[in-house]
């Protein structure tokens, strides 16, 4: 049974230029938990992290640590350490002295410092690197020194600000596993910030999805993936087709002119809802057997599967399938009841889920050129 370690209450952060970066954040973090703050850039996740670390003072609200309010406690007095995005290793010190830095400030006896640093080097697999200069290390090695430097102080909480962003893909995946292993081995609370949803799903016990200074959803990776609360979360995590639908009754929803069986209930009769269907949950079947029929407008080979864009009455879906369907072919689709997830309408409805393009930016370009064509 883990106890609550940190609690953020009604946290708001407004900067001098009037920008409100955090809007009434309420969150609690348990001891020994691996919690990830996930969201696009500008959502406030790094700001939240910095407030917990003591580098920023919130405009209002409180930060509680073990029940004590620590708003005004400066960072150098908190039992919290940070792994910075660009590592922030001290260039004038070698690996050993970097790691030993915090221990020396705390005036621990040299013998103990030596023991702890050596242990730490072992844990991050950098034994033998004691006397290397920081500038002579690769990105991955610097990363591990940064982690060692923070953990050697045995903090109760470790803050990690997008630490793996600068590493290449394979190394990143290895480091994700490493970090998870270290966290479980040392039993330290990790608060991790990232915009990479795959990373969050891989490593976290709990994910906090944020956007525009507000918390969108908190839950385990499975919960967030399978039961997103609104269109933003559904779109941010993995790929989603998000459609307008009407909840006719419990377990019955209608969209694209067809009634489907689903596994959600508790909505009002005939309530307009957002329907989420993951691309991998759509089966391609012969035309006659399909619940819906559509026209293939694009196929991209992705190795693991084909990304197939299908047009259903003007709305484009993404379907991931190992079946190859050529462009302009008519296909039918079937969706199992548990492949359909229903969400209440929100401010995010209508903003996501259409696969005319993959990004919003490209949509803008397309709109502009369409307008230009219309004018001609």
């Amino acid at each position: 049974m883990s106890k609550e370690l940190i609690r953020l209450t009604d946290l708001t952060m407004t900067f001098e230029d009037g920008e409100t970066v955090l809007d009434n954040i309420n969150l609690y973090i348990n001891d020994q938990e691996f919690l990830t703050l996930l969201g696009p850039s500008g959502c406030g996740k790094t700001t939240t992290l910095r407030i917990i670390g003591g580098f920023l003072t919130p405009t209002s609200g409180s930060v509680l640590f073990n029940g004590n309010k620590i708003n005004d406690v400066p960072s150098y007095q908190r039992k919290i350490n940070t792994v910075f995005q660009r590592y922030a290793l001290f260039p004038h010190l070698d690996v050993y002295d970097n790691i030993a830095f915090g221990l020396r400030i705390a005036k621990l006896p040299e013998k103990e410092i030596d023991d702890r640093v050596t242990d730490m080097l072992e844990i991050v697999s950098l034994r033998g690197f004691e006397n290397r200069k920081i500038t002579a290390l690769s990105g991955g090695q610097q990363q591990r020194v940064a982690i060692a430097r923070a953990l050697v102080n045995r903090p109760q909480v470790l803050l990690l600000d997008e630490p793996l962003g600068a590493l290449d893909l394979r190394l990143r995946k290895d480091m994700q596993n490493e970090l998870k292993r270290i966290q479980q081995q040392m039993g330290i609370t990790f608060i991790y910030v990232t915009h990479d949803q795959e990373e969050a799903l891989t490593m976290s016990d709990t994910i906090v999805v944020m956007n525009k200074g507000k918390i969108q959803q908190i839950g385990t990776p499975e919960d967030i993936y399978n039961e997103p609360k609104n269109a933003f979360v559904a779109d941010f995590i993995g790929e989603s087709n998000i459609l307008d639908g009407v909840m006719l009754d419990d377990f019955k929803v209608k969209f694209v002119g067809h009634v489907f069986e689903c596994v959600d209930k508790g909505f009002q009769k005939n309530e307009p809802v957002d329907v989420v269907i993951r691309p991998e949950d759509v089966d391609i079947v012969p035309l006659e057997q399909g619940q819906l029929t559509g026209v293939v407008t694009g196929v991209t080979f992705k190795g693991v599967h084909y990304d197939t864009i299908v047009d259903f009455k003007g709305f484009k879906w993404l379907i991931q399938t190992t079946d190859y369907c050529p462009v302009d072919s008519h296909i039918g689709i079937r969706i199992e009841p548990d492949g359909i997830h229903i969400m209440h309408k929100s401010e995010y409805s209508g903003l996501y889920g259409d696969y005319s393009s993959y990004s919003a930016e490209y949509d803008e370009i397309a709109e502009v050129s369409e307008d230009a064509e219309d004018e001609e």
Binding site: Y76, F90, P91, T135, A136, A150
Partner: protein, 275 residues
């Protein structure tokens, strides 16, 4: 075009160093007229080290330069750190203030300070207010911008996370500065201090206006000398200083080159071993 540029560069260097040559030759001249070479001798160097008055002047110049550069470096570095934390209008205002002695001609700075001291003199009802302290004050004043303009870029180039990392690991702000920041900006502090020292050592115009008769520096006295012909010992002094500074510069250049070479070689070797 490159050849033209190169020729120009060579010509310009010759042009710049002609006086050095002339004065160097003159320092070995037994005669006093620079234009006519009588015979080769080391005697001027001997005279130089025996001339107490001259050595006193040199000592004065060095004392002022050392004190002024020291004080301006310490407080200037503090100021740079402070300015670095400023934003917008305040920062621009302070930087404009810093730029004033740099863009104002020396003569105006000198005259302004002289008037300030004269004014203070009349307030305190003393006649001779010019002396060691007025000279020191003036030197500190014009040394400050050199320190600040050398330290500021280093502060701006420094990884801002470094200071936070130090705080995160338990340093008080003072400790963070002394243990981390100072190492990053040290090259700026040193070059600022060196520049301040050099500027102070050689300053003539500003010193000329704020010097009294009690404490005179070398450049000012050389100017006063020009009522009578220059003693050749001065040429010896000049040539010696030239040799010393040249040696220092070549050494600095060599050290800098070595430092960069090492930084370049290391990662390669490391990478190879890691594989």
């Amino acid at each position: 075009m490159r050849r033209f540029n190169k020729t120009m560069t060579v010509l310009v260097f010759i042009f710049l160093y002609i006086p050095m040559l002339v004065l160097g030759v003159a320092s070995f001249n037994s005669g006093t007229d620079v234009a006519t070479f009588k015979s080769f001798t080391f005697s001027q160097y001997g005279n130089l080290f025996r001339d107490d008055a001259l050595l006193t002047l040199l000592r004065n110049s060095v004392i002022i330069a050392v004190l002024a550069s020291l004080i301006s470096t310490v407080f200037g570095t503090m100021a740079a750190v402070g300015i670095h934390s400023m934003k917008g209008r305040m920062r621009r205002a302070v930087m404009t203030l810093t730029d004033i002695p740099m863009t104002n001609p020396d003569i105006v700075t000198g005259v302004a300070l002289a008037l300030l001291f004269a004014f203070t003199g009349t307030l305190l009802r003393t006649q001779s207010v010019l002396g060691f302290w007025t000279l020191l004050i003036a030197h500190i004043t014009f040394d400050f911008p050199y320190v600040i303009l050398n330290v500021m870029p280093k502060l701006q180039q420094m990884d801002p996370d470094l200071e936070e990392a130090a705080l995160d690991l338990g340093c008080t702000p003072y400790q963070a500065f002394m243990k981390v920041v100072i190492h990053e900006i040290m090259p700026g502090i040193l070059s600022g201090a060196l520049m301040a020292f050099t500027m102070s050592l050689d300053d003539f115009v500003i010193s000329y206006f704020v010097t009294g008769s009690s404490f005179i520096t070398l450049p000012v006295e050389i100017y006063n000398y020009t009522k009578k012909p220059i003693q050749p010992k001065i040429y010896a002094l000049f040539t010696l200083m030239f040799a010393v500074i040249l040696a220092l510069m070549v050494l600095m250049n060599f050290l800098q080159g070595r430092g960069e070479k090492e930084a370049r070689l290391r990662p390669g070797r490391r990478e190879a071993r890691a594989r």
